[in-house]
Symmetry: C2
DNA sequence: ATTCCCATGTAAGCTGTTACATGATTCA
DNA sequence: TGAATCATGTAACAGCTTACATGGGAAT
């Protein structure tokens, strides 16, 4: 039920449409919790029929903005407090793959690890840039801003750790000069 | 298709039954790629009817051990090599939650972060202990062992990073003496 | 006019979880 | 003989992805 509560959490910041929420998932939350528009629109309908959100306004081309209700706020707060709702499931295909690296040819493995390192470093860089921007800004003292800062730090540290791991693994697997392939 | 290839990868090490594979997921892979027995038995049937694995032996109480076939080996190697199969999707509820920390009361948040730090530190400790054991052992030079060492390091670094993040966040959110709750 | 972006939705299929169901073997 | 563990499976449901489908509004 994470998507449900993710939507409630975003709507707790203020009214937004399915389209808005889709973009926020794409741009910010997507790196740690992806969600496409079909899932979002579907869940919004369910949230509305359960009375946790309601239509705030209707705009131009069929646009519908939703607003969180009192019971929606109660529900998101209950979810955040209830420790039995915390789910530590993680699915990192990159780590799963690493159990099977011994099946790869050294040159292919080296390529793969370089690509992985690049991908993770890029993700880390995006989060770290966000974090730096937040630190440079004044008036970072609303609870929202402080909490967002923590989230960003989490993303940065996660991807920094994975990037460092991929580089470490690439070093361990290093090939002798002539067999190393350029990217 | 990660589970499919996860099973192929494990079977590349040698024959195993659905029960064996379920336990390996539970004990080792489970922390980065969980899979329950209903999913595993179902996928094994499909792999067998696709000719990627075959029955190796039948044992006591209905036990069936599977063995990877030539085309199974080809398929797992293809999957490992093909960079378009790499999936960087990550779903970390802990990070998703952190975007909504501003909705929590400080005391509840502090409790939550302590629990998170404990959980991640425990997971990191298990992986780190494995890594140390591997480093102390002699004859760690088969490709399997080297590759397993990399996988373990990944798990350790991932959970160490998340533990450090949770502690950092708890420090930032720290309460003044009397409101801090003991665990 | 045409293209691009805004904006919403449905349908089919795949992946994953929970609950149910069964029976053999081992050990105390 | 009773409990624990081994061992396999099915059914129902929940969650998520991909492809399809539609149309309004803005800008060139």
């Amino acid at each position: 039920m994470s998507l449900r509560h993710g939507l409630l959490g975003l709507l707790a910041e203020g009214p937004a449409s399915g389209y808005d929420l889709t973009r926020r998932f794409e741009q910010v939350l997507g790196a740690v919790w992806p969600a496409g528009h079909p899932q979002i629109y579907g869940e919004l309908s369910r949230l509305a029929s359960d009375g946790l959100i309601e239509i705030d306004s209707e705009g131009p081309r069929g646009r519908k903005a939703y607003r969180i209700t009192e019971s929606g706020m109660t529900e998101i707060r209950r979810w955040l407090r209830d420790s039995s709702e915390v789910d530590h499931t993680t699915r990192l295909q990159s780590l799963l793959r690493s159990f099977f690296f011994w099946l790869m040819e050294p040159a292919d493995l080296n390529d793969h690890l370089m690509r992985e390192a690049d991908f993770f470093a890029a993700a880390a860089g995006r989060y770290r840039a966000y974090a730096d921007a937040a630190d440079r800004a004044e008036a970072t003292d609303t609870p929202q801003q402080r909490s967002q800062r923590i989230a960003i730090e989490g993303g940065a540290r996660l991807y920094e750790a994975l990037a460092a791991w991929a580089r470490w693994a690439a070093d361990r697997t290093e090939l002798t000069g002539d067999r190393r392939r350029p990217l």
